[in-house]
Amino acid sequence: MALDIEAGKLLLADDEQSIRRVLGLSLEDRGYEVLTAEDGHSAYAVYREHDPDIVLADIKMPGLDGIELLKRIKRESPDTEVIMITGHGDMELAIQSLKHDACDFVTKPIKEDVLDIALGRAEEKLSMRRQLRDYTERLEEMVREQSAKLVEAEKVAAAGQVLDRLTTALNGIADDLENGESPFFQEIPCLISLHDSSLRVLRINQPFRARFGDRLGDPSWAVYGKGAVGETDCPAKRCLQSGQPEKSREFATDAQGDIVPLLVHTVPIQDTQGRMDMVMEVGVDLTRVRNLQQELFSTQWRYQQLFDEVPCYITVQDRDLRIQAMNRQFKQDFGDEPGESCYRIYKHRAEPCPECPVLKTYEDGRSHQYETVVTAKSGEQQNVLIWTAPIRDSEGEVTQVMEMSTNITEIRQLQDHLTNLGMLLSSVSHNIKNLFTALDGAMYKVSSGLAKKDEAKVEQGWHRVSHLVGRIKGMVVDILDYAKQRELERHSVSARELHERLVEQIEPRTAGYGIRLDHEPPGEDLELFADTEQMLNALHNILDNAVEACLADPAKESGSHVIRLYFRKESEDWAACVIEDNGVGMDRETRENMFTLFFSTKGNRGTGLGMFIAGQTVSRHGGRIEVESKPGWGSRMTVWLPRAGQSEGRVEAA
């Protein structure tokens, strides 16, 4: 599968030498540079020294176990992909490892194709992360380009200052002017005019003429649209009065009658005796600068739009993790409190998160990723994928960090569901094969009995066939129900109908095993508000469990086992279905875990689905299951169910 790909370093940690050897060879065949370790501590040491891309670790090892190793590695380098090797029956540990961010797990004995899939997944995650990093780096580049543009704009502003210097330089040029016109004077791309001490325009350059017309001999203030009522204020006059270079912003009227904003510099020009006899006026057309500013503003506005409209949360944070800017999406879901700290808003914590990616970015100036759960102001929990990018000043110093978070709750849920479904299928395919083998056995018994005309054998075999078909049917229904959680279709249903159908389903089984079934039909008037088929399936699963509990109880003689089934009113709103057995009973751990997915005490016989589905169905109806049980005593399950009529509205509301 991954043969022609340049595979990286892989650490294989397992305490069984044979596994290390065989698996190691097969991994080398796949192109990995394989490092091995025989226990958790040495695995950790090898990991620290060689920093492998992928770690394949046994979940149970002496010293430091697999989970602890996983946690340490993930804490130090979340980018390392860890695949757990689990034994049969380690399902809970396996699930726990996924919670601690293991990439996948493979079950012993390790099958080539399963291993391929797990490694493929790890490689995919590694390459996705690489892509993500590339992307983030590109993003940094964009930020850099944008800052470059800003710097450019700054330079335009600085041009004004340059003009100051230019003015000084022009003093020199003015000296030349006294000795006739310099060609230089005509070519300068500024509006230049010379004024005499009586404030008359003495000379103008080509750009000035083009813009304002031939103003020679006009009063100095004429172009500024003043002078109508004896107003003679103008830059040249102020310069003459102060005897110093002056700078001001003015509005002039050009030949077309349009108003032109100008930045005007004036320089006094002295004659050879040091007397001031002329003023040079240099005007810069501000419209061009305005246009540039406008452009910059609209670019900024476009970025603001982008910032606000992207479908993820963006904040800019300072070194104390205080939020300095936030986009619309963030304001909408987490509130608008600039200056508040990130951890308080996101996590309701009093101090920064232990693995804060923003602080890491401040530390090393690089992008970091982090996945966590945050609480929105609505109280909703969200899984978010966070990545950070440094914002630098012109010296390259990180001054702020931008944090982008994407809500991946739905993806996570889907992933969990798929992982569970995958685990379910692998465990179920094994169970179904066993069931089919047992079914073959039962059919063999029937045909062998028929051949020998042994009636007792035929009956025994036939009984077993029907029992096994029932088990297969139940398993398939459970899987289907789990795979697609159907909507509840609730309506009023009589408890008596449920009762009758349950008895019909379970009686053949109990009779076959010599278990007595005590049951009382409930009164006609007891109506429940339920999805009939789903509730029947749930109650059937509980009854089935009671049968298994009797079968698993070797202490009592056969024939002395009893299962009781009855319904009763609990209150105006609630009824209960009670199922009791005097079978093997449950210890505390079993009691506490019995409604957990994939929990089974039946070994190969159970999928770990039946009671999980029963619990889910009942709680989706707003009800609950009370469990009383003791080893050796038996169990009593009381299923609380909403009654129809008066209760419907209230139950829906709850």
Partner: protein, 118 residues
């Protein structure tokens, strides 16, 4: 004397199926429902062949196999793996045959005939 076969599987129905097939074919049988019990029965009965399930809830078939190989009287008893795990050929290295569940009576009998003769 009829050859004796030890059937180890944690599913009673499967053990019974094997017993029915083998007895109908004229073999003697003994059975066990987990690896530990399997070792005791093997020591006591000295079977000519063992059918072994791998994925058993109490103890894995491979551990039984390792313990069996340590016993000088039993280390050469041929083992036929009968399992629902695909790819089981890696688990018991020198198993004389691997049979996948579900199996037919003929598959079992063919394998036994080949190993035990007759």
């Amino acid at each position: 004397m009829a050859k004796k076969i030890l059937c180890i599987d944690d599913e009673p129905e499967v053990v019974e199926y094997l017993r029915d097939i083998l007895q109908d074919a004229g073999y003697a049988t003994c059975e066990a429902y987990d690896g530990k019990e399997g070792l005791e029965v093997a020591k006591r009965e000295q079977p000519d062949l063992i059918t072994l399930d791998l994925d058993m809830s109490k103890e894995w078939g491979t551990r039984f196999y390792r313990n069996l190989r340590r016993d000088p009287n039993l280390k050469d008893v041929p083992i036929v793996v009968v399992s629902a795990l695909s790819g089981n050929k890696y688990a018991v290295k020198d198993a004389v045959a691997n049979i996948d569940k579900p199996f037919t009576p003929q598959q079992i009998l063919d394998v036994l005939k080949k190993i035990l003769g007759e």
